[in-house]
């Protein structure tokens, strides 16, 4: 049996470097607490060499040259932990979260899939690096040995079975306690007084004498030092939550830097989804806005700030997608059309996971627009004509002449279609139907072109029928040559917007010939309108 452990050294620092990788080469200290009592919580190796240690106050380290400060971010630490879990679960289904910075995997049965143990360990390290985290990976015959080795040795370590005690012997006793080093200060002090500094020294102590002085806790520690503990993992089933959060040091007022940060978050989100062989059909963006912001005409984001300080946008796709570039473009277009209205202090991005689509194109199915390209095109068109003026339409169950609504355009898959009027099933036509005749086999339907808005007209009546018509703009006027009607209709009388109308078909001599119109008298408002023209 083999187990691997992924350990992130200086975890709070690493989570911040995940979103600001340019700081990796600099000295960085993470502060916790409220100003002015902020204290150092964690630091990277460069800061440690510069003399920074945990517990120092901000004032004490302000004079250090080249030292950068950042506040501790719990949401980012949670996101990094979730990313680590995704990374581990992309290799093995049996994963234990031994700490926020430590993940243990059971490697049983993985060698035929991923290769020998060193290769698996390197792959784990590479995958974690893709997620923005520099980790230590150790492989051993039992979970606790793997944990100790990952804490003590940097990079990738493989401990052959039977050599645990030998390999762990050189590590300091502090690795036994991990993040609980403060709580175990008395044990460390005891070991220090005994002259025990390395694990091999602890492993060499006599069992009975150790148990008499430190009890079962001491025996447990000795077994850990010897690499002699075998236990089963406590598997962890994380909920399928894919979220990325970033808290900003300074409020963002421009869309360009926001797009840069969104791009980074989207790349990480997509990498996590891909690691779990998932895609997404919904993206939700929550932007926390600066409180008490006064709208400024010059700021790009200043436009009708919402009252509650949280600005939310949701993008839904007709098919599962996983393209960070396309998501970024769609978010940019959406934010350009609906700007937040105030500077942004926090960004929260969440993706709803779904199974990816498995589309197989047939040889005889007509080509359709690619979903990714189509979504981008629709977003661009919506930016030109408005969200409500592009899409497919659906007829409503009403007799009202404008009884339809606009929907998001999502072309359905090809299928045999039942003809609307005749009830015949027309088989799917291939694109090679070059000379096929009219499909319905009946006369052509006369189309009515609608005037939106309808044209107000003045109608002179003679013998109870329209005789002469004049529009307000004088573009349509003249003697009515022929009239048919009226046909009376009404509806929705039980609603507030009831309607009642008389319809006439008329022929009017125009400049280019006889034009046929539909003339309507609104019986509720008492006005005459031209609804459309037969063409």
């Amino acid at each position: 049996m083999s187990f691997a452990c992924i350990f992130v050294p200086d975890f709070p620092v690493e989570t911040l470097l995940r979103v600001e990788p340019e700081l990796r080469s600099q000295s960085l200290a993470v502060l916790e607490g409220k100003a002015p009592l902020q204290k150092v919580f964690a630091m990277n190796e460069n800061a440690r060499r510069a003399g920074v240690s945990p517990g120092m106050s901000k004032m004490q380290i302000e004079d250090c040259n080249g030292l950068m400060f950042r506040a501790r971010s719990l949401p980012q630490e949670a996101a990094a932990h979730a990313a680590l879990l995704d990374c581990a679960q992309s290799f093995s289904p049996r994963v234990e979260a031994a700490g926020c910075d430590t993940i243990v995997l059971d490697l049983a049965g993985l060698m035929p899939l991923f290769g020998p143990l060193p290769k698996i360990a390197r792959a784990l390290s590479r995958r974690a690096s893709d997620l923005g985290l520099e980790v230590n990976v150790a492989v051993a015959g039992n979970p606790d040995t793997a944990v100790l080795a990952s804490r003590g040795f940097s990079g990738v370590t493989v401990i052959p079975e039977g050599r645990e005690a030998e390999q762990l012997g050189s590590l300091p006793v502090e690795v036994l306690f991990g993040n609980a080093i403060q709580e175990s200060a008395h044990l460390l002090e005891t070991f220090s007084r005994w002259g025990i500094s390395k694990l091999r020294d602890l492993a060499a102590l006599p069992d009975i004498a150790l148990s008499e002085r430190l009890g079962q806790a001491g025996i447990h520690l000795q077994k850990l030092a010897r690499g002699d503990i075998a236990r089963t993992l406590v598997p962890f089933e994380p909920p399928l939550i894919f979220e990325e959060v970033i808290e900003l040091e300074y409020p963002l007022v421009l869309l360009e830097p926001l797009a840069f940060l969104l791009g980074r978050l989207l790349e990480q989100l997509c990498a996590r989804l891909e690691a779990r062989a998932l895609a997404t059909q919904e993206l939700r963006l929550d932007l926390e806005l600066q409180n008490g912001y006064q709208s400024d005409e010059s700021a790009e984001l200043a436009f009708r700030p919402p009252p509650h300080g949280l600005f939310t946008r949701t993008l839904r796709f007709p098919v599962p997608l996983l393209d960070s570039g396309m998501f970024l473009k769609l978010l940019q277009l959406d934010l350009k059309a609906h700007p937040p209205g105030a500077p942004i202090v926090r960004i929260h991005l969440a993706a709803e996971p779904v199974r990816p689509r498995a589309a197989q194109n047939g040889l005889f199915i007509p080509p359709t627009p690619e979903p990714e390209k189509l979504e981008l095109t629709l977003a661009r068109i919506a930016g030109i004509v408005g969200d409500d003026n592009v899409g497919s339409l659906e007829l409503l169950d009403t007799h009202h002449p404008e009884g339809f609504c606009m929907q998001h355009f999502a072309p359905e898959l090809s299928s045999p279609q039942r003809h609307r009027d005749t009830g015949k099933i027309t088989n799917q036509q291939s694109t090679d139907s070059s000379m096929s005749l009219c499909l319905c086999g009946e006369d052509l339907v006369t189309a009515l072109r609608i005037f939106r808005p309808p044209v107000d007209v003045v109608v002179a009546m003679r013998d109870g029928k329209p005789a002469c018509i004049t529009s307000k703009s004088k573009t349509i006027q003249g003697e009515i040559l022929w009239t048919a009607g009226p046909w009376r209709s009404s509806g929705d009388w039980w609603e507030r917007e009831g309607w009642a109308r008389d319809e006439w078909d008329i022929a009017v001599q125009g400049e280019t010939g006889i034009a046929l119109y539909r003339l309507v008298r609104d019986r509720i408002e008492g006005r005459w309108i031209l609804e459309g023209t037969y063409d």
């Binding site: 004509v385 072309p411 694109t431 037969y534």
Partner: protein
């Protein structure tokens, strides 16, 4: 080196007419026999454009007249109001959606009637409807966005329609893209730059998309591979009962009697003399 003369001396100085697709002449055969000129290709065969694939227009009479509408080309139908243009548009749309092709309609005047389309058999799930003229462009300076001052020839809905058409054609995958200029005044439609039509024509070339335009007068000029002019017939064909003694509620609009004429047909050589067809539309509710 061959001792035979390459070209007969009698032919020198005299123009020679070579029919397109004719067999290589003797002189050309001798030329291509030379090792250095072995790869020589006859100029008449350098580029042979394939005949575009034709698809049904949805109207039997138009299919018999023109052979259908060509893919990868621009087809234009022009005519005055009540001439039957929109009826042809709906029939073409119904035929395309029933072929399971995804279609797009760029509606400049927002004149599309869903009820007529439903009666014609259009599958709305396959139709993308873009209604132009709906959004007012925001501007810090009201002066700057008075486009009419800088370019008074093109109004905003037409501008939107050109940009939207560009996006749709670049996106690709549509079987039919329709630009409805039916209610756009002809003076405004004529002002659409020829470069726009060229760009659209090049965008659909070598694709399976049919670009279909309806307008009051021909706008696309030489960019249209097929130009069809339609006109309505006299009032007497409109209703079956035109007697003034018949009460109006007994009168019924039968439909339109449409006369179509090919003005230009690039896929096939335009026949000598005008070729026309006539067909009727019927009023039907969904």
């Amino acid at each position: 080196m061959s001792s035979l003369p390459l070209v007969s001396t009698a032919a020198l100085g005299r123009p020679v007419a070579v029919a397109a697709g004719a067999e290589p002449t003797l002189g050309f055969k001798r030329l291509s026999a030379m090792p250095k000129l072995a790869g020589l290709t006859s100029a008449s065969r350098l580029e042979m454009r394939p005949t575009p694939q034709m698809v049904s227009s949805g109207v039997r009479e138009i299919d018999m007249l023109t052979g259908g509408f060509p893919r990868g080309c621009l087809t234009e139908v022009c005519g005055p109001a009540s001439s039957g243009r929109t009826s042809i548009l709906l029939a073409t749309l119904a035929a395309a959606t029933q072929r399971q092709e995804v279609c797009a309609l760029v509606d400049i005047s927002d004149a599309f009637n869903p009820l007529s389309a439903a009666a014609a058999g259009v599958n709305f799930k396959k139709l993308l409807w873009v209604r132009c003229g709906g959004i007012k462009q925001k501007s810090a300076s009201p002066q700057r966005h008075r486009v009419t001052e800088k370019n008074p020839k093109i109004e905003k809905p037409v501008e939107q329609a050109l940009r939207v058409t560009d996006l749709l054609l670049q996106s690709g995958g549509f079987g039919l893209v329709i630009i409805d200029l039916g209610d756009t005044p002809w003076k405004m439609a004529r002002r659409i730059p020829l470069t726009s039509w060229f760009r659209f024509q090049r965008a659909v070339e070598h694709t399976a998309t049919v670009l279909f335009v309806i307008s009051q007068v021909a706008c696309a000029q030489t960019c249209a591979s097929l130009l069809l002019k339609v006109s309505g017939k006299k009032l007497s064909a409109v209703s079956s009962q035109l007697s003034t003694e018949t009460p109006t509620h007994a009168q019924l609009l039968n439909g339109l009697q449409v006369r179509g004429e090919i003005l230009r047909s690039r896929p096939e050589r335009k026949p000598v003399g005008s070729v026309t067809t006539e067909f009727a539309t019927r009023v039907r509710t969904g």
